[in-house]
Symmetry: C2
């Protein structure tokens, strides 16, 4: 096996082209084996085998620097740069993350998990090279799906302006996570159809030297093209046609399903865990379909993650014109929603919390200054969301709750969520975001008939001395604390704040009469969040306040339960703290 | 005078083409007259006279909907839609804002002040139109400068995908605020040179129907092209060549100077107020030039506002390759800086606070997760910065201080600022942002020799009972409070926090021994800011805390001194509060 002899990308250089072909087969087999047992990004990586081998064969990493966009397609790169054991030996599978990471290898230049950034990052590497008078090659590898993000376009523009060596490799597998949308994709299609010869050419128009490779799985073709552009003195685009999921029948057939996922049965192409547990994503999809049927102005928007709002292929078909996938383009999504709302439509933009970060200015300027009644649904904004450093979802409260004019609602259960969502869609007054709960779906079994036009926090249990204000899906911790306190003859007040962009001042003032301690609990970082608003309000008074949440930090591959304990987000520990505080 | 008869854009329709020409001259004259007395965006508006008249002549606003990007070029539109008196009568000059605003007129669809948003906003209007089965024209007018922003590209992509009527008018005056940079501008240049005939055509590549107009100041040509595309069933780009500052000699000659500014002498083309007061922008430019000379790795970056870092035309020439204007592309700027830092360069990105909002995700993901030692300088992040609703600069603390791994420094005077800046450039440990003061330059006359590697808040005056923690350029209010308190026999402690992304816990603990009240002062909104972190820390203790700052809100054309008073940010009022609190 050649793969076992590759301890470093330098070891590749001694192989013949024929041997590279054998190596490709070995790499693909190893990849598929690990992926089927461990899960991960199958489609993107299976499609990058030959290209990655050719990259490391021709270029001299780490002197030559390769930046992988979003790094969902960097597994083969890891296998060839000293990390093969993490793919060959089950016990070592978790030695590597799913992303490039400088802490793992000198061949990795950035920790990357959000899309559309590679060209700008690489442009910076190239600028420093030029300032220092060095001469290495700088390569950005970016998928067609990632190129729809505005940052990628800003990068392309500036690479041309910079004018010196930079090689942009476009891995065109004709897919984002789901289908691609947008004018740019029509151009890619035209370029593929014409084998790169169409006169309509976005990259040439921008000033790039452009090359097309029809078969990205032909190692020799890839080696040749990379040799041709190596040490180029000007910016080059290599447009490579690849097949997402290449070499694995089921992944080639069902590209969306095999973009990423858990362990699967290689023989049948079925995921082992077929989780059918009720979740807020699917429930939202169901609700929206019904709402769309009743009201033709309702339109669901996603930025390339239709699963967030429960819009699987079938639901997308049913929704028709009332569903829009804008591609990886969160900024457009928010401005688009604002425009729709302004002209009498009812837009609902659903987005994973980690990606709402990409659109702060649009929420502020395009949407909230204009008070347009668009609805933003923030999913997985929780310690129980994605746990990779680059995909953390618990920065949403400081991000959103400090933007003027934005109402940010935090439902605590299913009925409350749908009552709020319905209110948000029906009202015409302002922009509303909802922090969709992300723990198991809690149903009260009774419809929520609250009138959310009048924003008040809810006193769920009236007590004295101690009040617990428990936000959204951490409401259950508040309930536990209240219960535990009874064992100490303390009968506290339990509050569901309902909205977290501001405070229910009347209620807070009322609490002062018969309470001496307020506890806040939120599923997010403490800094800049809801609890700190409460602490600030009570600051000049005798009321004591203790805020619970997570300490501001990029946590990587954490265990959510451990993280909660570390931050004392546990009913028993909180009761312990309370008893100390009121002593 | 025809202009006086135009009370609404409908009144235009009765004029002949010849009369439209006369009207153009009248409009330009009126515009120049007001601009010379009142100030504003001269160049962009002088270049839009004929185009705007043609737009309102051909289309039926407000049924047909025109969205002006950034709206720095919407003055003529205002004159033609019922607001001419605000241009003709000095007493009414301030009846209109410098931006489109739905509160002013039904012909304005959005309050817009940040660039690159019009296409996406208009795309939303068009989507709602389609959902409702309506048939009006939707028009986005965008300058060449604004098209470098990623959001504009995301918009173009999606307009093509949407496929229905939308008319994108590109006002190509060959300038951003300063020169344009990037591959896209080379394409515009090629298209101008070839009169729209070059086969390299970004817009055709994206799938637009493309039209070129060589002389955007020919009313007839503009009327004809708009008539041709009116009611088009598919997306159209009209690329119009105009002259920035058209019709005013000095503005045509010196386009950057006349992009925007205060009142000027029409005869001489000189601004009336030639402010030469020392300011942090120019000082930064001087410092950076010197630093560049000493260290070839230092590179200053701007996103189309070189004035922010004191990089006027002359300084840009001196800096050479060590200055990069990335165009309006804040996201790229941050990722680019991260890449430069990673490869051993020393990037300093200077940006106005209102625009740092456009790059939250890049600061978090591209920069801070990677701990790359880039320097971000945030200018005009102050109540004394720009006071238009869309350009407010005091949301930076909640935005930046809650991003993990980012050090946010807040100097209180000139020497401290440059000591921090020098430290930030020289260190290799992490990403550092500096909240550059924005009131008059305060010099202590003594070099600051603090070692900022060890981050500690500074106790400037040691006292007891009451401690004032005064951030950055509000430090002077803290000094005043301390002084005033003496009259009441209170000798308080004055603290300069130095860093505002976290707390000096040791110091806060120490204060507990001999203080009962802590006051925080910051030049920014209270919500999510520095003071609330202090309040949260002391929440469970007996220490009282009162936070001073601005209430979260979009304030429009405010008087900074009134706003400070409204928020009790005044030494006398604060002392009043303190005396009440400690009674």
């Amino acid at each position: 096996m050649y793969l076992e002899t590759i301890n470093n990308s330098k070891d590749l250089k001694y192989l013949s082209l024929e041997q590279l072909n054998i190596l490709s087969a070995e790499v693909r087999k190893a990849l598929l084996h690990k992926l089927s047992q461990h899960g991960g990004h199958s489609g993107p990586n299976l499609g990058m085998v030959e290209m990655t081998i050719a990259l490391h064969y021709v270029f001299d990493s780490p002197k030559d620097k390769i930046v992988f966009d979003v790094s969902h397609q960097s597994y083969v790169h890891k296998m060839l740069t000293g990390r093969k054991d993490a793919f060959l030996n089950k016990a070592q599978y978790d030695d590597v993350s799913g992303f490039t990471n400088p802490l793992e290898s000198e061949h990795d230049f950035f920790n990357i998990g959000h899309t559309s950034t590679s060209i700008s990052l690489a442009c910076g590497l190239a600028k420093a090279r030029d300032l220092k008078g060095d001469h290495e090659n700088i390569i950005a590898v970016i998928g067609d799906g990632s190129l729809s993000g505005g940052e990628a376009y800003e990068g392309l523009n500036n690479v041309v302006e910079q004018g010196s060596n930079m090689i942009v490799v476009i891995n065109d597998n004709e897919m984002s996570i789901a289908e691609n949308y947008g004018g740019y994709y029509r151009n890619l299609q035209e370029l593929r159809r014409s084998k790169g010869k169409s006169e309509n050419n976005l990259f040439k128009a921008l000033g790039f030297d452009y090359y097309y490779v029809e078969d990205g799985h032909n190692v020799e073709a890839m080696v040749n093209i990379f040799r041709q552009v190596k040490d180029s003195h000007y910016p080059v685009v290599i447009h490579v046609h690849t097949i997402k999921g290449k070499g694995y029948h089921y992944a080639e057939k069902n590209k969306e399903k095999f973009h990423a996922g858990g362990p699967f049965d290689i023989e049948t192409g079925e995921y082992l865990s077929n989780e059918t547990k009720e979740n807020y994503n699917d429930l939202t999809g169901k609700y929206l379909l019904k709402k769309m049927k009743d009201d033709s102005r309702v339109v669901a928007i996603t930025s390339a993650t239709p699963v967030a709002i429960g819009m699987n292929e079938n639901n997308r078909k049913i929704a028709g014109q009332q569903f829009v996938d804008v591609g990886i383009a969160e900024e457009h999504a928010v401005a688009f929603a604002s425009g729709i709302a302004k002209n009498g439509g009812k837009p609902v933009y659903g987005v994973f919390s980690t990606f709402i970060q990409r659109t702060y200015d649009q929420i502020s300027q395009d949407l909230c200054i204009n008070n347009n009644p668009a609805v933003l649904l923030v999913f997985w904004g929780s310690v129980f969301g994605m746990n990779d450093e680059t995909h953390i979802g618990f920065f949403d409260i400081p991000l959103l709750s400090n933007i003027p004019n934005l109402t940010y609602l935090a439902p605590t259960n299913k009925e409350e969520y749908f009552a709020m969502l319905d209110y948000a869609i029906e009202q015409n007054d302002h922009s509303i975001a909802i922090k969709v709960p992300h723990m198991e779906v809690i149903s009260k079994g009774v419809a929520d008939t609250t009138n959310y036009k009048i924003l008040r926090s809810k006193v769920v249990k009236k007590g004295q001395d101690i009040a617990i204000i428990a936000v959204g899906d951490f409401f259950f911790i508040g309930e536990q604390v209240i219960d535990l306190l009874k064992q100490h003859d303390i009968y506290g007040t339990l509050i569901n704040p309902v909205f977290i962009h501001g405070l229910d001042i009347d209620l807070l003032d009322e609490l002062k009469m018969s309470h001496s301690l307020v506890i806040t609990l939120e599923d997010g970082i403490i800094e800049g969040g809801y609890g700190q608003k409460v602490a600030s309000y009570y600051g000049p008074t005798n009321m004591k306040v203790k805020n619970y949440g997570l300490k501001k930090k990029f946590y990587d591959r954490y265990d959510p339960y451990e993280l909660l304990l570390e931050n004392r987000l546990d009913a028993n520990l909180i009761v312990e703290d309370i008893l100390t505080l009121i002593k």
